[in-house]
């Protein structure tokens, strides 16, 4: 019933609008006005509107920056993140200079060169090779600098992790992350997706691989020591997931059927960050950033950066997964599903 009324209301509105337009058009035609083409008055008013717009546009942008700048991501909390922030700033400077100049010119010219009695004719100016050469070459140089700067950082981000990096696995499934620490040997044991058992072996660890015997599986939190390089192996069980650490300026996808890697050095502990942010509850976070299903928006992991001592103490409270499994399956391999 309500739907029907809505439809009727819409239909009546359309009819009304059509009638109003008809009246407007007929009255204009009687006065001899052309309602389809711009006249001098339109040129002047729309030209002025363009100028007002560009000023309003800049004010809006500046207001947004002032209003929300404190809610943006805080200072980067990793080694690569610091360089990344500098590069970001460098880009922003170039972008804002170009943006303000070109945008202003665009709308200002529209205003200034409106066709009026004062400006009845245009200047025939089909090309100027020198000018065109300048604005091909200058952006090329600016971009070359950006490319070189950017690629040097990219190289650092994606080079092989150092040998003494702490090896961790992050394992994504709908809709949570699981962490596996590599234990005393700093080596992750191999896994096989056919050995997955949600109750006893959620990551599908293969118990015939000794390097996995000391691996520690942790749900619900990721702890990392500050100042040490972390080398993360990323895996996914079911669909693709995105592993995004906004505070460390790092991101990579977790892809079923293959491992991907990222590494960085956390540089600010959670406690220090809380001091910086004046917020005793502030936490780092890992979020899924590749749409993965209905619970995608709830796929988070709390991240804690500890001091070395805190981290070791925390890790010591955890038991390797196989200690628990071995008791149940009499020390043998986990049965194939």
């Amino acid at each position: 019933m309500i739907k029907l009324l809505v439809y009727i209301a819409i239909a009546l509105t359309v009819v009304l609008l059509f009638q109003l337009m008809r009246i407007y058009q007929l009255s204009s035609e009687i006065k001899g006005k052309n309602i389809g083409m711009a006249n001098e008055k339109d040129n002047r008013s729309q030209g002025r509107a363009s100028l007002i717009f560009v000023l309003g546009f800049f004010i809006f942008l500046i207001w947004l920056i002032v209003r929300f700048k404190d809610d943006m991501l805080p200072v980067a909390a990793s080694d690569v993140g610091k360089t990344s922030d500098n590069l970001f700033m460098f880009n922003w400077v170039i972008i804002f200079i170009v943006f303000f100049i070109t945008t202003f010119m665009l709308f200002f010219f529209a205003y200034k060169y409106a066709k009026t009695a004062k400006n009845p004719t245009a200047y025939f100016y089909p090309h100027n090779d020198k000018l065109e050469l300048i604005w091909t070459v200058v952006p090329s140089i600016a971009l070359a600098v950006i490319v070189i700067y950017g690629l040097s950082l990219w190289g650092k981000m994606t080079e092989k992790a150092s040998d003494n990096a702490l090896n961790i696995q992050l394992y994504a499934k709908q809709f949570d992350f699981t962490v596996r620490y590599s234990g005393a040997d700093n080596k992750l044991g191999v896994t096989n997706y056919k050995m997955i058992d949600d109750a006893t072996n959620p990551l599908g660890m293969d118990s015939t691989d000794k390097s996995g015997w000391d691996d520690v599986v942790v749900h619900g939190e990721l702890h990392m020591p500050v100042g040490r390089e972390i080398n993360i192996q990323c895996n996914a069980r079911d669909v693709m997931h995105g592993m995004y650490f906004p505070h460390f300026r790092e991101q990579i996808n977790c892809v079923p059927g293959m491992s991907t890697y990222m590494h960085f050095v956390p540089t600010i502990t959670t406690d220090s960050m809380r001091t910086i942010m004046h917020d005793t509850a502030y936490d780092y976070i890992l979020v899924c950033n590749r749409v993965c299903g209905s619970g995608h928006y709830n796929m988070f992991l709390k991240v804690v950066v500890d001091t070395k001592a805190q981290f070791e103490k925390w890790l010591a409270t955890k038991t390797p997964q196989f200690d628990a499994i071995n008791k149940r399956s009499h020390g043998g391999a986990v049965t194939m599903k």
Binding site: T103, Y113, E132, L143
Partner: protein, 605 residues
């Protein structure tokens, strides 16, 4: 052949107002299964307008959810009913479905099918001086494949398990496994079917456009005299013909993975308590195939907009387009580079980082011809004598969004920075501005500009101004604040952002964005009213209402089958002799012969 037959039967009898009927043509032949490029163009436009309207309503629905998460809304319930909005609260699966179909429709059905389909069909024969497309039959099929494709996509919204919901990029395994998300059931099957048909439509259309531009130019219409609209549409068609088949391949392989047990994209998956037998495939293969189309696709969207922008700016500034040859050169280099930058969508995919570096380099290269275009548009306005017809405003707006959105692209092209904001609202803001807004604004501009050629009547300029300013202000009101969400690290495609406290603080931004979005969508009513009213009741158009040089304004006001009565026009000069010194008028149509010693600017600029 047929066109010549018609010509023979309709010769001298034509008058100025000829609204001629072909007695041999029934209504069905004339308006439905028409082979006339002008009718087909309108069919594309109307279908795309309908689809875009639906997609705009979808955006209102998910914007309601994002600004006021979990609140009961009668609007939501009105559109989605109990199945997807129980108690007026949007279902999370339907949220993803809306986002997916909104993207798919806007990219493919509005900005590819709608934009190219409308303007290539309308303008190519009219501006090169041809009676019709090279193959009117293929042209008709192109539309009907598009229609069926649109229909299937639209129907997929109404099925039990919901529409495809893996995002418009439909990355497997999510899109391959119905266990992972309900939308990957029948909804995904319909999506893939629809897109496969869309590719067929696009190829039939594209081949036709290319052949027509290359072979059917009238006497004197050298390539260096073509209006930039035609250059743009030609390059667009070439891009489409080379890249769409790859999407077709990607879709076919996905259909095989879904239905016939192959594992092109699937490997080592454990889902729903079960280890699947598929092994050895790679989702990254899909990403490569998808983006091999997907990136040229954004240029398929923006190129026709470039063409329309060049033409409208030049005509309304009463000045030749600045750097005609540089404009062609930049479009050609953009088109070439478009094929070797797809990897910049995949910096976080896990592909080889060295490959990433190569894509950084090629992607930033593409900024150079883009910058040239922006500077040339601005210089065309400089010292012009600008007539503010609504289309000029739309096109100036499109240049502005192209600049704003293009500049943030510099950040995303840099792999080391991309990983910091990849997949956040920063990306959403970037591509909506640079591709979505630029193309939509240019498309509106094109509709206002060529409306008199389509319907023989003018649109109302006052409503045009209101439509422009509301649309333009709302567009920036939506997408400028979105950058800030992205810089705070908020991921896209999230049903709500309130699970993480620092993001919940940014809810104000979502409210601002949603209000602008809703007003922006509502202001399109002004356009619809203006469009449909003026179509039948608007003021009659003059022969050449905008004092333009191109050939379409030399046909009868409402051109009949075959476009020109009598002989085809002969071209003597380029399309941009506006305000040429020593001429009686501030425009010199292409059909006016050159004077003794006059310079052909198309050959020299």
């Amino acid at each position: 052949m047929e066109t010549h037959a018609h010509e023979a039967t309709h010769t001298a009898a034509h008058t100025e107002h000829h609204h001629h009927e072909h007695p041999s043509q029934s209504f069905v032949e004339k308006y439905m299964f028409s082979m006339d490029h002008k009718i087909i163009s309108k069919q594309f436009l109307f279908t795309a307008m309908f689809m875009a309207f639906a997609a705009a309503i979808m955006s209102v629905l998910f914007r309601l959810q994002l600004a006021w998460p979990g609140q009961q809304s009668s609007v939501m319930h009105f559109f989605l009913g109990d199945r997807w909005a129980k108690g007026g609260v949007l279902d999370p699966n339907m949220y993803l479905g809306l986002v997916t179909i909104h993207g798919t429709i806007m990219v493919f059905f509005l900005l590819t099918g709608g934009l190219s389909g409308t303007f290539a069909n309308l303008l190519i024969p009219l501006q090169v001086g041809a009676r019709d497309m090279a193959s009117p039959m293929m042209n008709m099929l192109s539309y009907w494949f598009f229609f069926i494709s649109s229909l299937i996509m639209f129907i997929s919204l109404f099925i039990e398990t919901g529409p495809a919901s893996a995002g418009w990029t439909i990355y497997p395994p999510l899109s391959a496994l119905p266990q992972a998300i309900p939308g990957s059931g029948a909804g995904m099957t319909l999506w893939l079917t629809s897109i496969a048909l869309f590719v067929v439509s696009s190829l039939l259309g594209g081949l036709n456009y290319i052949v027509t531009v290359v072979n059917l130019r009238t006497i004197g219409m050298k390539m260096t005299r073509l209006p930039l609209t035609i250059w743009a549409l030609l390059i667009t068609a070439i891009l489409g013909v080379l890249s769409f088949p790859v999407l077709f391949g990607a879709a076919i392989l996905l259909i095989f993975d879904r239905s016939f047990g192959t594992s092109f994209y699937l490997s080592d998956i454990y889902i729903g308590g079960q280890a699947l037998s598929e092994t050895g495939g790679s989702p990254i293969l899909f990403e490569h195939l998808f983006w091999f189309l997907g990136h040229p696709e954004v240029y398929i969207v923006i190129m026709p907009a470039f063409g329309i922008m060049s033409e409208i700016i030049s005509i309304n500034a009463r000045k030749p387009i600045f750097g005609y040859r540089a404009m062609i050169g930049s479009m050609l280099s953009i088109a070439f580079l478009a094929f070797i930058v797809w990897g910049h969508h995949m910096f976080v995919s896990g592909m080889n980082p060295f490959l990433g570096s190569v894509f950084v380099f090629t992607t930033l290269l593409i900024a150079i011809p883009s910058a040239v275009k922006a500077f040339n548009y601005i210089t065309t306005l400089w010292k012009g004598s600008i007539t503010f017809n609504p289309q000029l405003l739309f096109v100036v707006g499109a240049v502005s969004t192209f600049i704003s959105g293009g500049l943030t692209g510099i950040i995303l092209a840099d792999s080391a920075l991309d990983v910091a904001v990849h997949g956040t609202y920063f990306v959403v803001a970037h591509f909506h501005i640079v591709m979505g807004l630029s193309a939509v604004l240019a498309m509106f501009g094109g509709v206002y500009h060529w409306f008199p050629k389509m319907f023989g009547r003018m649109m109302n300029k006052k409503l045009g101004y209101w439509h422009f300013w509301l649309t333009f202000i709302c567009a920036y009101g939506v997408f400028l604040p979105m950058h800030f969400l992205g810089l705070a690290g908020v991921p896209r495609r999230y049903y709500t952002n309130d699970a993480y406290a620092p993001w919940a603080k940014l809810q104000d931004i979502n409210v601002i964005v949603s209000i602008f979005a809703i007003v922006g969508v509502l202001s399109q009513i002004i356009f619809f009213v203006n469009f449909f009213y003026s179509m039948s009741k608007g003021t009659k158009s003059a022969q050449n209402p905008w004092d333009a040089n191109t050939l379409e304004w030399t046909t009868p006001i409402v051109p009949g089958h075959g476009n020109w009565e009598g002989d085809l026009p002969v071209v003597h000069r380029w399309a941009y002799d506006y305000s040429k010194p020593g001429k009686a008028h501030d425009f010199v149509p292409q059909t006016v012969p050159m004077e003794e010693g006059e310079l052909d600017e198309g050959e020299h600029s």
